[in-house]
Structures are given as structure tokens and as C-alpha cells.
Symmetry: C2
DNA sequence: CTCGATTTAGTCGCGCACAACTTAATCGAG
DNA sequence: CTCGATTAAGTTGTGCGCGACTAAATCGAG
């Protein structure tokens, strides 16, 4: 198969980086699914937990900034995490507009069960450390460029 | 920032290729949105149209194979494309289980308006041809690996 | 030829994802 | 101090995306 560059006007599906991206993202998330089912988390919920395991607490706004998600996506998701007993939500005293999200006991404990997940995914992806680093670099560059004048 | 490789058990969001992938995919699709709004298409609908512009006709099964989507995703999407007057759907005479999707006049004509889209996106992504090719290669490798034992 | 297995679309339920909007709290120029 | 502008979170509506399931048509071993 002869690929064309990003610069021509090809309308062929297989020429498009964006489709490779879209397909790869869904494939990786599908790979996560059985692992996250064990933790009773969806993939976006897992991402929220990653942020909280890292920094204990965050506002909805901060979670949105870290994950590039709107409050309209996060609010219901956080409600489900709270219903699942993994987080607490409370209005901040010093700024009643903000809501602090914190880990519950169960949420903090879940971290240990999650430890095995990145390993298993890394193995399934099957890239060399160099390929992994290159891919991350290019994806971040791409994201920054695309968001630049968005 | 010091990145770790895919092989360790880091639970840091920024270390994870999968998050870079997820964020990049959504950013690119968001970039498409205003362009596709002009065509009154969503991104997945646009992908279906790409396949049809390429080969005139396809069954639901073939579209699913090309785009890696389930019939439970495609059936309602195709219903919307039909309601929008871009495609026709008809049971295949030789195998009543299959449904043939074909372009309508309007669907075929939309191709010309879509010509400018890949150019604009390619420009927004801002990768060199080499980077674009590398990214596509790595994403396909990744997807193949992840799906292999799925 | 027959009938259980397979294949193809489709429906349903749930959880994102995002645009558009609302509500409430805070900010800040005058 | 005040009040219009801004900010934070949440609601609503639409369209994916997929698992679980169903219905109907076809296949194929015996």
C-alpha cells in the first residue's frame, strides 16, 4: 500500500492519520476494558482516578484541565464515582463555586489493584521503549498543534 | 518532565501513551467539527462517507470491518445518513441478511465539498511528511498488536 | 432434506463527549 | 460599594460506541 503524505487531498480512508488515531484509541480502550471491569471502572473514570491518586484532591475544573474534558462530561461521571463510593465531593469553603473532589478510603485503596494495569497494557501495545517515546512525542506535538488555533 | 517507558508500572497520567492517544484523537476530531458542520456530517458519518466515496457500495458488515465499528453503532448512524438523504439502504436480493449501502445523488455530490477537508486538517496537524508517516506506522503497529490477542 | 449452528442487522441500555444553556458565586472597573 | 462581566459546576439534548440480546436468513453436517 502506498501512503500519501498529510499534505495532499486524498479522500482514502487508509491515507488518513486521523483514522489511524481514532482506530488506535478505541482499540487501546477496548484492551483496557476487561482489566478495568475488575476495578468496576470505565476508561474515563480510570483517568480521573489516575489524577486523584497523583494529587489527592482536585476541583472539577482542574480535572477538566488535566483530562481535556468539559464539566458537562465530568459532572455525571463524578456523580457515578461518588455513587460507587470511590470519591467524595464537597463545595469549597473559600470559593463556593468550586467543588473539591477527594478520594474516599476505598478510592485510595483501589490504587493497589490498579498497579498491574499499565504493565498489562504496555505489554499488549508491544512497542519498544523508543517507539513508545516517539509515539508519545508525536501525539503531544500533534495535539498541541491542533489545539493551537482551535 | 521525565517520561517513563511503557514497561514500568507508573500510574502517572502524563506517562501514559494511552492518554496521549485518547487526547490526540479527541483534539483532532474537535478540529474536524467546524469543517464537517459545513457538510452536516459528524466525524464517524464522514468516515462512512469516505468508504462509500471510495467504493460506491458496501454492506453494513463491510463498513464495520473497514471502520472497526459494531453494527449497533452503524445501524443508527446509517439511519441518520439515510434521513439526511446521503445514502440508500436496501436488502440484498441474493442474501436477505445483508443490507447494501449506496450513495444517493446528494451523497456522491458531497464528495467535492469534502475535498478541502483533509488539506485543512493536515495543515492544522502541522507534522512533517516524515512525522506523519512515522505516526501512522506506529499507530497501525500499536493497533495490530493490541487487537492481536484481543 | 433437515435442523441446529452461524451470520447479518438491528434494538436496547448505559456511559461518555460536547454544544448550548442555566444557576450561583466571585471579581473588578468605576 | 455596586453592578455588569467572568468563572465554576451542573443540566439538557444529540450522537456515538459497545455489550448483550433478538430476529431472520443462510449454511452445512448427517
Amino acid at each position: 500500500m502506498v501512503d500519501r503524505t498529510a499534505d495532499d487531498g486524498s479522500l482514502l480512508l487508509q491515507d488518513q492519520l486521523c483514522f489511524a488515531l481514532y482506530a488506535a484509541s478505541r482499540s487501546v480502550i477496548a484492551r483496557y476494558r476487561p482489566l478495568l471491569d475488575e476495578l468496576e471502572l470505565t476508561y474515563p473514570q480510570y483517568l480521573v482516578m489516575l489524577v486523584l491518586w497523583e494529587q489527592q484532591t482536585a476541583s472539577v475544573r482542574e480535572l477538566g484541565a488535566a483530562l481535556q474534558l468539559e464539566s458537562s462530561t465530568l459532572s455525571p461521571l463524578l456523580k457515578r464515582l461518588e455513587a460507587g463510593g470511590l470519591i467524595h465531593r464537597q463545595r469549597r469553603a473559600d470559593d463556593e463555586r468550586s467543588v473539591s473532589i477527594t478520594l474516599s478510603e476505598a478510592g485510595a485503596e483501589l490504587r493497589e489493584k490498579a498497579r498491574a494495569v499499565p504493565l498489562a497494557i504496555g505489554e499488549a501495545m508491544g512497542l519498544t521503549p523508543e517507539q513508545d517515546a516517539t509515539a508519545k512525542h508525536l501525539l503531544r506535538l500533534l495535539t498541541a498543534n491542533v489545539n493551537r488555533t482551535a
